[in-house]
Each structure stands twice: as C-alpha cells, then as structure tokens.
C-alpha cells in the first residue's frame, strides 16, 4: 500500500515534466487513481508484512470478539460448528487419512489470517472489522492454535511471518516429478491381463438423487 502511495507522489511530480516518448504508445483511457481510492481498495497484506495497517489487538479482546462475531459458525474454540470451517487443531494430521487443515496445522503464513479475516469475515458482513479488531481476532486464533500465550498482544511491529507448516510448501514441480505422464506411445492393445472392479460409487451411496435418507453422510472429501 505504502508503495502505491509513493507511486502516486512520483506520478504527481512527473505529470509536470515533458511527456516521455513511450507515452505515445498509450491509448489514454481511464484516469489516474487517487490515493484515497487506492487506500480504500488495496487492503491486501503480504507475508513480509507489507500492507499491515497500524494497530494492535490482544488475545483476550480477540476471544470476546470471536464469541460474538465468529463462534456461531466456527465454534467457541475454532472447532467449527457443523460443516462450517474448522480454524484450530489438526496438528500432526496432515499425513493421516483424514487431514485437518487449519491455521495451526496447515497454513504457511500469519499474514493470510489477518488479510482474510479483514477481507471476508464475518461471512455475510465482510470488511466490517477495524484493524485493531482484526489484530485481536488474529491473536486469538494464534492462541487457539497454541502459537502464542494468552497474554499476547499482536501488532504490526511484532507480526510473525511464518506459521509452523510453512517449511512444507514448495512450488509446483509436476513437470519433473510427474514426467512419467508424458508418454510417447500409450498402450493400445492387451494392456493388462484382467480388469477387476475395485470400487463402486453405489456402495458409498452419496449421489445427490439418492440422498433422501443419508443427508448427514459426509463425502470423504469436500469441495474446497
């Protein structure tokens, strides 16, 4: 954000200078965005903290806010009410058959917690939280995930970058690790000796049209 504001200042100066040759390539549509306009929309926060506003919030303030604004969906302790997202726990579950991906167990960066809550929560009343409230809620969720003590106060100054699982993310490497999928001549005839059915959808019986009596049967993986 601050970068954009600087850019504006520079633009204001350069506007007085002679038109550079490259400006000839410009169509000249649109108008210059004002700093207030950029500030209103550019609310994103990056892992390195760029975009964090001034402010602070404590775990205990966060807890109070969470119980009034968030727990109806996410549960008192972030455990998720019904099918609403779980926000805490799941540590050590990522290799299991039922991984639980939460802020503490899965997310790589703290900034995402701040950014997302401020941008999109509470669900149905987005962008209603002040920076202090967002810091407090972020602090509370960190505490629920055993990342900070209960007397912790989170601010722009002490905002941590990485969450525990950060080291386990790496960039898409399909083109090297899955090289085997680039095949010259896929088999066309007698490719295997026998074919056996290993599993039927009907056994799980989660097809929408037959769901009358198994509404509460969850699929083993959801849409995310």
């Amino acid at each position: 954000m601050s970068k954009s504001a600087k850019a504006i200042a520079i633009v204001a100066l350069t506007a007085l200078m002679p038109v550079p040759a490259s400006a000839a390539d410009k169509v000249g549509l649109g108008r210059v965005a004002l700093p207030e306009e950029i500030k209103a929309w550019d609310i994103d926060v990056r892992p390195d903290g760029v975009g964090l506003p001034d402010g602070k919030g404590s775990v205990s303030d966060g807890e109070a806010l969470f119980q009034t604004k968030c727990s109806s969906c996410h549960g008192e302790f972030g455990e998720g009410a019904g099918r609403w997202p779980v926000l805490a726990g799941g540590q050590g579950s990522l290799k299991s058959d039922r991984p639980e991906k939460t802020i503490g167990s899965f997310w790589p960066y703290t900034s995402t917690v701040y950014d997302y809550i401020h941008r999109a929560m509470p669900f149905g009343e987005a962008q209603s939280l002040s920076p202090d409230e967002t810091y407090a809620l972020t602090a509370y969720l960190m505490n629920l995930n055993d990342l900070v003590p209960s007397d912790f106060v989170l601010s722009k100054e002490n905002f941590p970058k990485n969450l525990p699982n950060e080291k386990n993310f790496y960039d898409d490497d399909r083109e090297t690790t899955e090289k085997a999928f680039w095949k010259k001549d896929p088999c066309m005839a007698n490719c295997k000796e026998r074919v056996e059915i290993t599993n039927h959808a009907r056994i799980l019986d989660v097809t929408p049209d037959d769901q009358k009596d198994d509404k509460d049967q969850k699929p083993s993986a959801g849409v995310e």
């Binding site: 390195d48 399909r174 680039w182 095949k183 599993n199 989660v206 097809t207």
Partner: protein, 421 residues
C-alpha cells in the same frame, strides 16, 4: 465379463465404423404391427397456432428439457453462498456450454453489480495507477474473441479416495467452455506502465469474498483477458458480470469474477485461496503450491450414470477432453476397463486450452462395458489413471484430480461410477 464377448467387441471395433462390420450383430429392421398414432393422427401442434414471436423476449429451452439444469450437492458445503453447482455435461453436446448451464462456484454469494457503478483499478508497482469505467474498458483497442475451458481445480476432488458420485455432472461438472469477448489484460497493464521490478499481479473481485489470487506477471502479460461477454452476450451475473478475468488453462479460482482491481507487485501475496485452499497436500505431508495449470483430462459423457444406454445396436459414445497445456491431440476410448483402446474421432473446432468433443460410433449387443477415455495434448502429456496419480500424490490432494474415469455399463444399459484395477 466373459471372454467371447470381449473378442466379439474387439472384432467390431477393429473393423472401424460399426456399420459394415457389425452387420451380423445388427438385428433386422423392426417391423411395426400397427400404424403409429403420432403419424396417422393429427397432433395439436400441427393443427393449432403456437405462441407469437416475442412471447418469450429472452428465449428459454423447451419445457421438455427441464431436467437439463445445474445441480448442487447440498451437503458438500455449509452455506449456499460459498458453494458450487455442477454443469450437466451428460446432457450437452458440441463444445460450447450454454451460459445458463455453466457451473457456478461462489465464495460470498452472487454479487449483482450495476455496470455503471463498476470500477476497474490497476495499481501497485506501476508508473500511473489507473481507474477505468466499464465504458472505458470496452473502448480499449485490441478486442479479441477466444474459446477457453474453465475448470475448478477441485473438479473430481470428491473422487480421490475412490468412486463416490454417480454421474458425470457431479464427478466432472465443475467445468465450462465458452467464447469470451474481452481485451488482453496486458493492454491495461501497459496503459498503467508496469515497473521493471514487477513480478506478480494480484487480481481482486468486488464480491463479498473480495476474492483474490496472485498470478505471475508473465502469465498476466501473455494470454489473460479482461472479459465482459460470454457466448456473445454480457457475462451472466453468476459468472462475474460485468467483468471477469480469463486465465487460460489455469485453475478456475484464478479467473476472478466481478474483477475490480489488478495490483502489480514483486512477490505473491499468499492469499487464503492460494495457501489454505488450492494447494495440494501430498501423502508425505508436504504441499505443492502455485499448481495453477490444469492438466489434460477427459470424460465420457454418454453413456454415463445419468445417461444410460437405451437400445442395443448402433450407439454413439460421446465425451469431452481438454488440457491447460495446449491443444487436445488425441483421445483414446476403452470399452473394457483399459485393456484395449481405440482412438476416438475428435469432431468440431479444437482450440488450445478449450474443450474438444469426441465420438466413437459403436454397436452394443447388451454386454457389460467398462468405459474409459484417455486424453493426450500437444505437449505429449497423457492423462494418467487414478492409481497412477495416487502413486505420486496420495489421496489427500483434493485438487487436480485428472485421472481416467471408468463407467460400468450393465446389460440393462444403466451405468455406474466405478474404479477398476
């Protein structure tokens, strides 16, 4: 399935077009016992006048097609505003998805935006941050029309741990393929003047989720479009009216709807939809990130569980194939669970990063079939089996399941989602 039938089948297939070779299998033409009343009696639609030309100022499908609709699986998500509906692939043909049937995935409900109140901003590491009205956007030179598929990275995501949903609408219906009208994103970025330090852009929506995704600048300057029309008319509200981003070949979540802002920066923003979601958890507990590209994939849409076989004799197997890496070069079809394959006929326009339609004309004598299709693209990528995929990824990935689908067709013509060895 008994061996003779398989041999029989192979013989028919090897003869190519079913017609000549299948003569021995084809029953003699049926003979009617009594005249068909639909022919010999006058029908009301033949005798009486129908509705006038403008009875429906915006046309809708025939009332006999009322089953052909998007459907949802209610229990998949806690809220209908952050949920998904599926394209009825089994009821469509050709390559273009009709606008009203394009699957929908929202994270904060459907924003309804008056185009007069929509603004599109370019900011961040640019010489001059800019704001455009919709009118400005449409005045930008360099307008293009492009056909692209849009597939949600979670398409087939429910199938990682085994066959689950009984219908290609639900297993494969998080995809659509339309022709977009818009202007390359590059035109807007050039207008603002991207700093040489710029490496990434962040696209942001104006909806109640303020959806954001980081996109490498290279892609943004390559083939991304800022689009306002699909299939010749304004975007549908559920597809981002009045403006959406088109990110050809890459996962649907990045195609930000209700696009209001593109910011230039020098590193990715690690937004919720590229960390908590849309990262691929592998068996070893590590996760791939920035898995933007959608690999080659295909599915037989007919027959399939929602579209059973009704008659023996000549039948048309149909399906769709697509690849985010380029153009579909070939699709093979197996009727015996992957033992033997034949190359299908790709029919109609076949564009890069768009859906292709394929057919196999075949003759069915009532035996059990295990139908599969295998897509290949011009990068040489061959669609893997589900087990091959699991070998590399385990089954916790949720996203990017492009494994080969199997439909079991029973002697009564009904079809079922299965997995085979």
């Amino acid at each position: 399935m008994s061996e003779p039938v398989t041999l029989n089948r192979r013989r028919v297939l090897n003869l190519g077009i079913a017609g000549a070779g299948a003569a021995a299998l084809t029953p003699a033409l049926a003979a009617a016992q009594t005249p068909d009343p639909l022919i010999v009696e006058k029908q009301e639609w033949t005798q009486y006048l129908g509705e006038g030309v403008n009875a429906k100022p915006y046309g809708v499908p025939s009332k006999f097609e009322k089953e052909v609709v998007r459907r949802e699986v209610e229990w998949l998500t806690a809220s209908r505003q952050s949920s998904v509906s599926f394209t009825p692939l089994h009821a469509l043909d050709g390559i273009i998805t009709p606008n009203g049937l394009c699957f929908v995935r929202h994270h904060g409900g459907e924003a309804e935006i008056d185009p007069a109140k929509h603004r599109f901003m370019i900011n961040g590491m640019v010489d001059k941050p800019l704001v455009f009205t919709m009118e400005d956007v449409k005045r930008m030179p360099g307008r293009v029309n492009r056909v692209y598929f849009l597939e949600c990275a979670a398409n087939s995501g429910m199938e990682w741990r085994g066959a689950q949903l009984n219908g290609c609408q639900f297993t494969h219906g998080m995809i659509h393929n339309v022709v977009y009208t818009g202007v390359p994103l590059k035109a807007f970025l050039n207008e603002a003047g991207v700093s040489p330090k710029g490496k990434w852009v962040l696209a942001e929506g104006a909806d109640a989720s303020a959806m954001t995704r980081s996109i490498p600048l290279e892609k943004a300057m390559d083939d991304c479009l800022v689009a306002w029309a699909m299939n010749g008319e304004a975007l549908r509200p559920e597809q981002g009216y009045p403006l959406r981003l088109v990110v050809p070949g890459w996962e649907g979540n990045m195609w930000v709807k209700w696009l209001r802002r593109v910011e230039v920066g020098d590193q990715p923003w690690a937004q919720r939809e590229e960390t908590s979601k849309y990262t691929d958890l592998l068996a070893d507990g590590r996760s791939r990130q920035h898995t933007f590209l959608m690999d080659a994939k295909s599915v037989v849409t007919n027959p399939s569980p929602q579209a059973p076989l009704k008659s023996k004799g000549p039948n048309v197997l149909s399906g769709v194939a697509w690849s985010g890496r380029g153009t579909i070069k070939r699709v093979d079809v197996s009727m015996d669970g992957g033992r033997n394959w034949r190359t299908a006929r790709i029919e109609g326009p076949n564009f890069p990063r768009a859906m292709a339609r394929f057919y196999v004309d075949f003759d069915w004598n009532g035996q059990e079939l295990m139908l599969q299709s295998r897509a290949m693209d011009d990068s040489g990528y061959v669609q893997p089996t589900k087990d091959e995929l699991r070998k590399y990824r385990g089954s916790n990935s949720i996203y990017h399941n492009n494994g080969i689908q199997t439909w079991l067709v029973r002697p009564d013509g009904s079809a079922e989602n299965v997995e085979v060895s």
